[in-house]
């Protein structure tokens, strides 16, 4: 007769905090393939962000404005320092640079349509300007990148502003890459590359390095465009005080500062997650640099990286930015990671909300692809409308908050309208911890 089984007291399986399931899967993937993981998007790890800031609404000591009736301005002028033709936007939200190549022609057209409806600008990317985006963007910023793919003086002159890209938040100090799947015949022709090869892009400009040479480069671009176009300088957030100051000294009209949450078409995951500053930590030093040079509001500051809501817009402006830029959020508004496509995301081994293999060109939403059948799924008119709607919501939300703080223009928001929920956010944004007058760590630049 068998003895009754004694119950076995086992603990639940326990994952290591250090070797968590994602880490283990990455080690296994690396061992199998011998190449680092590449993906699109921005940092996915949790970093201190605008969520940790709150506004102090008006009550007795300050008076709020009435919504719907009392005006709260949102317009912004960019590039008033040297350019004969500064950019005038209706809203303080612009569309960040994203290339044709990383995005489909339909997606670029949709971005142009949506931004134009909302009265704001779009931006080209690595690989040049397409007719779709020029034709459908009332205000178009032309990026000048290290690779100079598709760079030509005709497009330079038909742009409304020029953005010299030194870095981006997802990869400050890194170059670009676009894998063969996305180097379609049209992309290859625009970039003067053989079709289907892995494109390697440089991390430094081929004909200048450092601020002394940048000053000369800016002068050249101004001369070519007869001092008409605003010149932006875009930097990935890493040493924002110095980089902002040097961009200003080199003659920039506008500084674009991109935090680590900012997206990329295709970059090493290790780079995206481990290099650069969250935007929350980057704005205050950049603003201080502008103030130290007496150039705050004279050289405009556009910040980007993880802007999602009107609250984020208002917080960025309150910290001293003149405008914000959106990339990932704009793609989501077009239809990226739509739950309606869940079955297709499953086939790609992912799920709606987590899809980031933009570099593979298999996007079921037709946005980050060069496959004509997939790209044809995106209706540029409808997608543009969705983007315009989303931009309207961002603006309305920012106005709502600004009015509650008694501001007749969103640019009158100031750091003193904010408090922080955590010590980290207080130190990074340089606003007091809620309920105190304490701002930790004010000594840095």
């Amino acid at each position: 007769m068998n003895a009754p089984m004694k119950p076995v007291h086992r603990t639940l399986p326990r994952y290591s905090a250090t070797f968590d399931p994602h880490t283990i899967s990455e080690i296994q993937r690396a061992a199998a393939t011998g190449i680092y993981d590449i993906r699109g998007g921005g940092a996915k790890r949790k970093v201190p962000h605008f969520d940790d800031l709150l506004f102090l609404g008006a009550s007795i000591s300050r008076y709020p404005l009435e919504g719907y009736r009392e005006k709260c301005g949102t317009d912004v002028v960019l590039g008033s320092r040297f350019a004969k033709k500064p950019i005038r936007l209706k809203i303080p939200v612009t569309i960040a640079g994203m290339s044709f190549g990383s995005l489909s022609g339909q997606a670029k057209e949709a971005l142009g349509r949506g931004a134009s409806l909302a009265g704001t600008s779009t931006t080209t990317g690595d690989g040049g300007m397409t007719e779709e985006e020029r034709g459908h963007s009332s205000i178009l910023v032309y990026q000048y990148l290290p690779s100079r793919y598709g760079m030509n003086p005709k497009d330079l002159r038909r742009a409304d502003a020029i953005e010299i890209v030194i870095g981006q938040g997802a990869k400050p100090g890194g170059g670009g890459m676009l894998l063969g799947q996305k180097i379609s015949p049209r992309v290859a022709k625009m970039r003067t590359l053989p079709e289907g090869i892995d494109q390697r892009s440089a991390c430094r400009h081929p004909d200048w390095t450092g601020p002394d040479d940048l000053e000369i480069k800016i002068e050249e671009l101004r001369e070519i465009t007869d001092w008409e176009k605003p010149i932006y300088v875009k930097i990935g957030a890493s040493r924002p005080y110095y980089d902002t100051a040097l961009a200003v000294k080199s003659g920039a009209d506008v500084v674009v500062l991109d935090g680590m949450q900012g997206g990329t078409a295709a970059t090493q995951e290790v780079f995206i997650e481990n290099v650069g500053l969250p935007i929350l930590a980057a704005i205050a030093p950049a603003v201080r640099a502008l103030q130290d040079l007496g150039m705050h509001r004279k050289v405009q500051l556009i910040v980007s990286g993880g802007i999602r809501s009107g609250a984020d817009v208002a917080k960025a402006l309150a910290l001293g930015a003149d405008a914000v830029s959106i990339g990932s959020a704009a793609l989501i508004a077009l239809g990226d990671n739509d739950p309606a496509l869940e079955a297709e995301y499953q086939k790609l081994g992912t799920t709606a909300g987590a899809y980031d293999d933009w570099h593979e060109g298999l996007d079921p939403a037709g946005i980050t692809t060069q496959n004509p059948e997939l790209a044809a799924r995106l209706d540029p008119v409808l997608a543009g409308r969705r983007l315009a709607n989303y931009l309207a919501v961002l603006t309305l939300e920012a106005q709502t908050i600004a009015r509650a703080c008694g501001k007749s223009h969103v640019h009158n928001l100031e750091p003193e309208d904010l408090v922080a929920l955590t010590m980290e956010a207080a130190a990074m944004a340089r606003v007091p911890l809620a309920g105190t007058s304490w701002i930790p760590g004010q000594t840095g630049l």
Binding site: N152, T192, L193, A202, P206, D207, W208, I216, E220, E223
Partner: protein
């Protein structure tokens, strides 16, 4: 023949005047004196005119040139003819770094030497250097012809795509993914065409050696990782 003295009037006036020329202008031959190493001289031109510069120029002379012919009697600074689209630029002296960087078309002729990064990321231009070129030249060169009558410095053609490099003298070393290839009839024809455009009919194409891409970096392979 319009002339312009850069010691007497600002660069802005010169470039503005050159940009404003109508397509049918009769003012097709300009002479510029006292350039004094100034930057961005005659950049962004887009007219079938000839501009002669008497003296040394700074950075980015003839930058983004289209259709114009620019002749410099002197040395050129960094990035001469950068991103040129078409037309012709001739430098009687030496050129500094990044000559013809990212240029898409046209002809750049340097009578003296060109220093480092000559033809970096070139995208279709023809560059002829009668002297020697410095290190890291034709880095990531995508298309076009680089013709060097003298020697080439270290790491020629590193990470090159489909540009063609012709060197008559010695090559200090080749960069990653750049190899010597046989100088076949097709290359000789291309080379003779470039030499003729540069006015060097007396130079024998067969004296050159030809370098191009091994195409080993066109698709990532783990065993090439140390080349990245």
């Amino acid at each position: 023949m319009p002339s312009f003295d850069l010691a007497a009037a600002p660069l802005r006036d010169l470039n503005q005047a050159l940009h404003a020329l109508p397509e049918t202008t009769n003012e097709t031959h300009w002479v510029i004196d006292n350039p004094g190493g100034k930057h961005a001289i005659a950049c962004g031109l887009d007219a079938p005119i000839t501009v002669e510069v008497n003296g040394h120029v700074g950075y980015y002379c003839g930058g983004m040139n289209a259709r114009a012919t620019i002749r410099v009697s002197g040395n050129a600074g960094v990035g001469v003819g950068e991103n040129m689209m078409s037309g012709e630029i001739r430098i009687s002296g030496d050129a500094s770094q990044a000559a013809g960087a990212t240029a898409h078309g046209g002809l750049l002729v340097i009578d003296g030497n060109a220093s480092a990064r000559c033809g970096i990321s070139m995208k279709g231009v023809d560059i002829v250097v009668k002297g020697s070129i410095g290190p890291m030249s034709a880095f990531m060169a995508q298309a076009g012809n680089l013709v060097v009558l003298g020697d080439a410095g270290e790491a020629l053609g590193d990470s090159i795509y489909e540009a063609k490099l012709f060197v008559r003298g010695s090559v200090a070393s080749l960069g990653a993914d750049c190899i010597e290839k046989p100088l076949g009839p097709e290359e000789i024809e291309a080379l003779e065409g470039v030499l003729a455009k540069a006015g060097l009919e007396d130079v024998a194409a067969s004296d050159f050696r030809f370098y191009g891409s091994a195409r080993g970096l066109y698709h990532f392979h783990v065993d090439n990782a140390d080349a990245y």
